[in-house]
Subunit: 230 residues, 2 copies
DNA sequence: CGGGCATTTGAGCAAGATCAAAATGGGTGG
DNA sequence: CCACCCATTTTGATCTTGCTCAAATGCCCG
């Protein structure tokens, strides 16, 4: 997610040497099985994916949308067993590392290791934000919030072009992200479209009026997520 | 949270040497101001507390209940600025460490540092579980889930006595944890009480019928959260 | 052209919210 | 010990947000 501290070349080489290689996944495919016991750490190089959990009867909650640059598997791989599934939204390519890299990393590159913890903490903060939405925001606020947030994240990794970003989520995905029904999502989206707040068509999302959309979302800026200089 | 790997004596001494000391907080007091820029890492020694975020208009979402043994401030202190508040539920005592401990820890005790990341990841997993509840479970399921879960956690740190644990949350806290209204929480609790599933009175919670309560919660066991041997 | 998915629309329903007020239940100062 | 205060719990009544069910429409792809 965007702002990282500068990583030294020696660190980079070190990481690079341990790469297991690249993987590709088709849209819709499971990147990590729910409940499986994977032994890897991934970085998403390209494409979109999401983390989710399900209830026995099939209800699904999307926990997190994953964009290029995000690290995958801190929760899953550091913990035994993976408590969630990961599915590709678009064709996806990722870079895998052996799980055993972690300890070596901690021994040989404490700086990088700290970054890893930072990343884990940051991930939790994102989840916190979503929890606030799902628990306490109205449907309209939730949708507005999600769209603003996704737009910002996508733009920050260079996905914005001509005032819009790719938007590979179906309305069902949005529903499962926000804890709402598909039908209702549809109606809320139309409301936002009619109000000129968003432009959502042909798989792309543009924001018509950032300021208003934010206001609708009952959202205001978080201090930028920068790793503190210790 | 219960299951830790064995920590060596040298590690313990190291940690102990860095302790800034103990703090106490009264019930209801803010342990960390929302939005403040604290410089500490805490461990909760005694009592209950909770993490929360608020919306401009006062709506509150409780993110996490904090029990003795839990680490506080991974999200807050590793990130710049604290995006959430922490409030004491009961009188509380905590142990503080300087934020600068982190890097030293990473340099000198990679094993411990890995534990720290593990803790951060584990924290996120808890949040994930709550998110699944709030997003996709019915009110009844959510309450059942929360009570089972709190009971297990509290019991695992030795708070259970005679089949019950202390329960310092008001119904308003439960409501803000689960994204429901106080009135509705009240009704659901009565339903569970009448069904003999729980015993909740005089500030203590007992579970009448674990199996059924779990079933009601649409909950089933997670693999135990044990740090993997790398 | 036909099947499958996603989106859209309509109608009725219900879980849970809101509003209001009464009943409890400690704690506190007199 | 009592009177009072304030927070919490409880109850009742009504309303609304968002859900469910059902069907139509549009679209992509083989």
């Amino acid at each position: 997610m965007a702002d990282f501290r500068r990583v030294s070349t020696s660190e980079l080489t070190w990481i690079d040497a341990r790469k297991l290689g690249q993987w590709r996944c088709e849209a819709g495919a499971a990147v990590v099985e729910e409940g499986s016991d994977h032994k890897r750490l991934y970085t998403l190089l390209e494409g979109w994916a999401f983390r989710f959990r399900m209830l026995p009867d099939g209800r699904r909650q999307i926990l997190n949308i994953i964009l290029p640059g995000d690290v995958l598997g801190l929760q899953a791989e550091l913990l035994a067993g993976s408590p969630h599934g990961v599915e590709a939204l678009t064709d996806v390519s990722l870079c895998a590392f052996p799980r055993t890299m972690a300890l070596a990393l901690y021994r040989e590159h404490p700086e990088l290791a700290l970054d890893l913890t930072w990343l884990a903490a940051h991930g939790e903060r994102l989840t916190d934000e979503v929890l606030l939405s799902v628990g306490r925001r109205s449907a309209l606020e939730r949708v507005a919030m999600l769209l603003v947030h996704l737009y910002k994240r996508a733009a920050s990794v260079g996905l914005a072009e001509g005032g819009s970003i790719p938007f590979p989520l179906t309305q069902a995905h949005v529903a499962d992200t926000l804890g709402l029904s598909v039908v209702h999502i549809n109606r809320v989206l139309q409301r936002l479209r009619r109000g000129g707040l968003i432009v959502l068509k042909e798989g792309r999302l543009g924001i018509g009026d950032f300021r208003s959309l934010r206001r609708v979302a009952a959202y205001w800026d978080q201090p930028a997520p920068v790793r503190p200089l210790l």
